[in-house]
């Protein structure tokens, strides 16, 4: 489960360098997210633009990653591809996360 992370100043971006977050990798995703977000950053943006498939296990792992941050830190999502966006919409999880079109758009919104 390849995750890359970068400090964007206003937030930490975590880019998923995988095409699928599904049952086969959901637990590894959750564990890796815990590792890469063990920082002081109060605001994390998860870049999903390379991910073209998320199933219910993957969705659960993304929710778990948000809960892992704790109540004082936030997790936004960016770059949802069509199938992934549908899964979030069908389960109404799109109301739980702030979703950006892209990391670039998130930067404009949060430019300090």
């Amino acid at each position: 489960m390849k995750l890359e992370t970068d400090d964007m100043g206003d937030f930490q971006v975590v880019t998923v360098q995988e095409e699928r977050i599904d049952a086969a990798v959901a637990i590894r995703f959750k564990d890796r997210m815990r590792e890469v977000t063990a920082t002081d950053s109060p605001h994390v943006v998860l870049d999903l633009s390379r991910v073209n498939f998320v199933d219910s296990s993957g969705l659960g792992a993304i929710v778990a990653a948000m809960k892992q941050l704790g109540s004082t830190r936030r997790l936004d999502l960016a770059g949802l591809t069509p199938t992934v966006e549908r899964v979030f919409r069908l389960t109404r999880m799109d109301t739980v996360f702030t979703i950006h079109d892209s990391v670039g758009q998130a930067q404009s919104v949060y430019a300090g």
């Binding site: 699928r20 599904d22 049952a23 086969a24 498939f53 199933d55 219910s56 296990s57 969705l59 659960g60 792992a61 929710v63 778990a64 948000m66 809960k67 109540s71 069509p82 199938t83 549908r86 899964v87 069908l90 389960t91 109404r92 999880m93 109301t95 739980v96």
Partner: protein, 180 residues
Amino acid sequence: MPGKHAVKCPETDTEFSIGSMGGMSTDKSMRSSKSVCIRLSFASGELAVRTALGQLKQGLAPMRLSKVDESNVELVLGEVLNNVVEHAYGANATGQVTLECLPAADRLRFCVRDSGKPFPGLHLPVARQPIVDGPEGELPEGGFGFFLVRSLATELNYRRESGRNLLSFHILLSPYGGSG
């Protein structure tokens, strides 16, 4: 290597042979210019599900489904097959999983068969929409799978017969499918 097994799908009452493990066969007698009949058989495992989904998409390619229809197929079959791996067979067991896909004019009909444990209560999970209104710390991390299945598939039917689970369902195709 086990010999050929006969599989009978309750949807169609068709009986046919499944060949060696991991193979995909296409019944030429049922193939028209745009539709195919697909049968897959594989040993249970999470990575095997990924492979099976890829083979299924390859098999459906001649139908030129719309992107939405293709993603519905992958979402529903992903949930159903992973459910077999995780619950019917579970961590300590393995076994065969058989998938059949039979297109009709406006839908794809599926039949999934395994020899694992039955659904609790011998019925499919009643899946409600996940509750997302509560506090963040209480958001559900599971239980979405059959909600997605029930949202995207119809004619769900489950039967337990001779130590096997038989799950059939339909996925309706968009009216103007094929335009990608």
